[in-house]
Amino acid sequence: MGNEEAVFYSRVLTELTLSFHIIYATIGVGVPLMIMIAQWVGIKKNDEHYILLARRWARGFIITVAVGVVTGTAIGLQLSLLWPNFMELAGNVIALPLFLETFAFFFEAIFLGIYLYTWDRFENQKKHLLLLIPVAVGASFSAVFITMVNAFMNAPRGFDISNGELININPLLAMFNPAMPTKVAHVVVTAYMTAAFVLAAIAAFRLLKGSNHVYHKKALYLTMKIGLVFAIAAAIVGDFSGKYLAEYQPEKLAAAEWHFETEENAPLIMYGVLDDGEVKYAIKIPFGLSFLAHSSFTAEVVGLDQFPEDEVPPLYIHYLFDLMVTIGVGMIALAGIYWIGMKRRWKIIHAKWFRWLIVLGGPLSIIAIEAGWWLAEVGRQPWVLRGLMRTEDAATTSGQVDLMLILFALLYLILGVGSVVILTRMFRKNPVEQEIEDRETEKGGDVL
């Protein structure tokens, strides 16, 4: 196998692992906060439904955490196995957040174990809720630290190169690089948003399947509200990301927006197709790109004409950008209508088709996450470390990457199917109506 093949298969395998891992990682970062909010509301309002909600979410969460942990271990090792030259360099400069991530993860793992096995063990429910804080903090900080490493790949800082040697290394400067704040905030809020909409989809699905229990209605209202908040936050941070890109990675922004010529008053191109270098069927929002890039409708935006051809990212990332933004805006609209509808007692939000849209919102949010990551990673090409190391120079020289690709594809198939089967089985066997009844009899019926 020539090295071109090794590079190709390494890219495919990394993409496969990350695309699979990110589903579980996103849920893993977002759901602890949802559990925490639900349990907190339950204790505050002395409402058993919310506490049960937290408890059932926690049960499902364990399964996704398990898959998230093992696929996270896989990607951690694969970075060294598939990109040894990159990791050798990265190890010198950006190892600190990687190392800190293991601590965050450690912290989360320990308290998750304690939290899960101490339901009702404490007289005071608040003590139990306290145990969840390290889980949520650890989960979110795992995302923060790992995203710092990814931000570093986009905006390498904290070192100088002189005669091929790394000098003046400053690990903190590498961590706090210019790409970090927007990227970290975007990753974390979208994880919260996705977790909320996935849980909302489940509640809506139960309501569609004939249950009319107030438990599901509370769950749906709670998660749609939280989803709305974080979807709006995601859009705002997304706008900041545009400004970051314009300043530090203009080629990525230009490729994502099909902005070929440097110009002032730049319009934002949405949708459309590229036909022989010409944009067709697109919607042009006048001055949109200038505003996104520089908060000014007339500012000049650098186009792709400023870059050598072999340093321009693939132009198909525009479709990924469209997909991500469309879903994001669509979810704001859907959740917004739902929220106003609940306040104003609109009938349509209880219609079947509307609930099906909410159900669809769960998987769509995950697709938006995937599209966002593909956009971020493909948009950095041809670099693995922008301006310093090309992807093809970073890959392994090993000849067995294609075999490993098959092996891991099979593994992810088994894990994906297994986790879905187990989750449905868990909740089918123990429907919430049954559990509420059991708990009432257990407590002598004076709770609800």
Binding site: L33, V184, Y192, F230
Partner: protein, 40 residues
């Protein structure tokens, strides 16, 4: 301004979002009204 939007504003939005989520989470009066409506 751009500097502020790139370095500090993202975290303000993040923490603002978390705070907002906690503030609006307990407001579930609409659910009870919905139940009443359905009973009628």
């Amino acid at each position: 301004m751009t500097h502020f939007l790139m370095f500090y504003a993202p975290f303000i939005v993040l923490f603002g979002g978390i705070a907002a989520a906690f503030i609006i989470a307990p407001m579930d009066g609409a659910v009870y009204k919905q139940m009443e409506n359905e009973k009628k």
